[in-house]
């Protein structure tokens, strides 16, 4: 048994911070189920990339970006509810992905793998995590006003369609970041569960973001440290830790 080096924790923790910030907005936008579903869109991209010998994370990212643009454009042009669009896209993505992958590959894509990223992958991943964090901090006011009322946002000059698209793309990038560690199924959970904990405990946006980021990073750290000790995969442990934070928060929820 050996503990991970600090440098091995940098990318997972950066990714968790990005997930906590993006998750805060997703949960406030009532995208709890939708967010989980969007992450599954990565599956056909991962399996297709494996089939042609390309980088699976890059394949997953391409599929996520295409999925985000598809959901956004259908949302813009039709009156079909977002939940319905995402439900259809998610089911289709799962079906295509599972047709393309073998049993072991499918499990790896869904739950992540223990392989270490190459230095280049780690550098790209860190850059992407920083990009998501910078976006979530800089665009927070636009995002918050848009989620309270798109009409109000328009009257003060916010481009609502562009704000929604950039948010979905940042969401896609965040999911792609976690694909290697947590896989498709668990990454959606790391975005949503810490943010749901934040919503339960906080009464302000700044409080929610602090709890969400803290819970995501704490879960990642706990899972990363406990995995080698227990001899199990990191991904499920990270999600179990974030779920434990959530259930513990139910006991401490302040009165509204």
């Amino acid at each position: 048994m050996s503990l991970p080096a600090a440098s091995d924790l940098l990318l997972p923790l950066g990714m968790a911070a990005a997930a906590g910030l993006i998750g805060s907005i997703a949960v406030m936008r009532r995208m709890t189920l939708a967010s989980d579903a969007i992450s599954h869109v990565a599956l056909p991209g991962i399996t297709a990339a494996m089939l042609i010998g390309a980088n699976p994370v890059a394949g997953g990212f391409v599929a996520l970006v295409l999925g985000a643009i598809l959901v956004w454009s259908v949302e813009q042009k039709t009156r079909v509810p977002t939940e319905a669009i995402i439900g259809v896209v998610f089911s289709a993505a799962l079906a295509i992905g599972s047709m393309l992958a073998s049993g072991e590959e499918l499990i790896e894509a869904l739950f992540g793998a223990a392989r270490r990223p190459s230095p280049a992958e780690a550098a790209v991943g860190l850059l992407a995590a920083v990009a998501v964090i910078v976006f979530a901090v800089r665009a927070r006011s636009r995002l918050v006003i848009t989620l309270v009322s798109p009409d109000l946002a328009r009257t003060i000059g916010i481009n609502v369609a562009r704000t929604n698209l950039v948010f979905l793309l940042a969401f896609a990038l965040t999911v792609a970041l976690g694909l290697r560690y947590l896989g498709v199924l668990l990454m959606g959970s790391l975005i949503i569960i810490p943010a749901a904990t934040g919503k339960l405990l906080a009464r302000s946006l700044s409080g929610m973001r602090r709890v969400s980021v803290g819970s995501a990073m704490g879960s990642m750290l706990a899972g990363s440290l406990a995995a080698p000790a227990l001899g199990v995969e990191r991904g499920p442990l990270v999600i179990a830790a974030s779920a434990a934070f959530f259930f513990a928060s139910l006991l401490r929820r302040p009165e509204a």
């Binding site: 406030m28 009532r30 927070r140 006011s141 636009r142 918050v144 006003i145 309270v148 009322s149 798109p150 009409d151 109000l152 328009r154 009257t155 003060i156 000059g157 916010i158 934040g198 919503k199 906080a202 009464r203 302000s204 946006l205 700044s206 409080g207 929610m208 509204a256």
Partner: protein, 232 residues
Amino acid sequence: MANALEVSHLTVAFGKTTIIDDLSFDVKTGSSLAIIGPNGSGKTVLFKALIGALPSRGAVRWAPGTKIGYVPQKLDIERDLPLTGLEFLRARAEVARAPQEEATRALGLVDLAPETAAQPIGTLSGGQFQRLLLAFALMGHPTVLLFDEPTAGVDEPGQEEIYGLFGRLKREEGLTLLIISHELTLVYRNADNVLCLSRRRAWLGPPVSILTPERLQEAYGAPAHFHVHGDR
């Protein structure tokens, strides 16, 4: 231009259903226009077309340099949304690249206590939330304010207070006001002109000529009553 707003031949349709058909009217700078009419007559749709949130045909011309403040109809806010009133106003200041003190100034204009604004927005009462939205609208130093049912869900003293506030803003800040309302008594007492929409046609004029039993019967398809206490 002496008019803050000129609307000519405005038509808004959803698919084959026309909601507003060939509507034309002007609003004088510094005046107040109340928009009344039965449910489904297109009042909110008209506002959304005026702010460009809905596609429309015809012309909507705002006076050069117009800045619009919009106070929407009751918003669907979750009670446990973790966002305080102050954070909401500060977000507004950040988008406008205005100093954060703008939030404090706007709260003062609408008489909303800072400790009330520090609460999550989902826990504010109807009247407090309306004031917060009004403060949000005032932060951009608007020349025109659009209110969509500002007193819906607010008790009678609260309604009087909100209309009193409108009168003060109109006098002191020189604002042009467009107000959608079902409170015909308050409209009668506070509006310079009334635009009455029905599903078939529209009427425009001073309250005394629009708020007549015959006109209201025709617009609403049923008698609509209101009470006038004393002189305007």
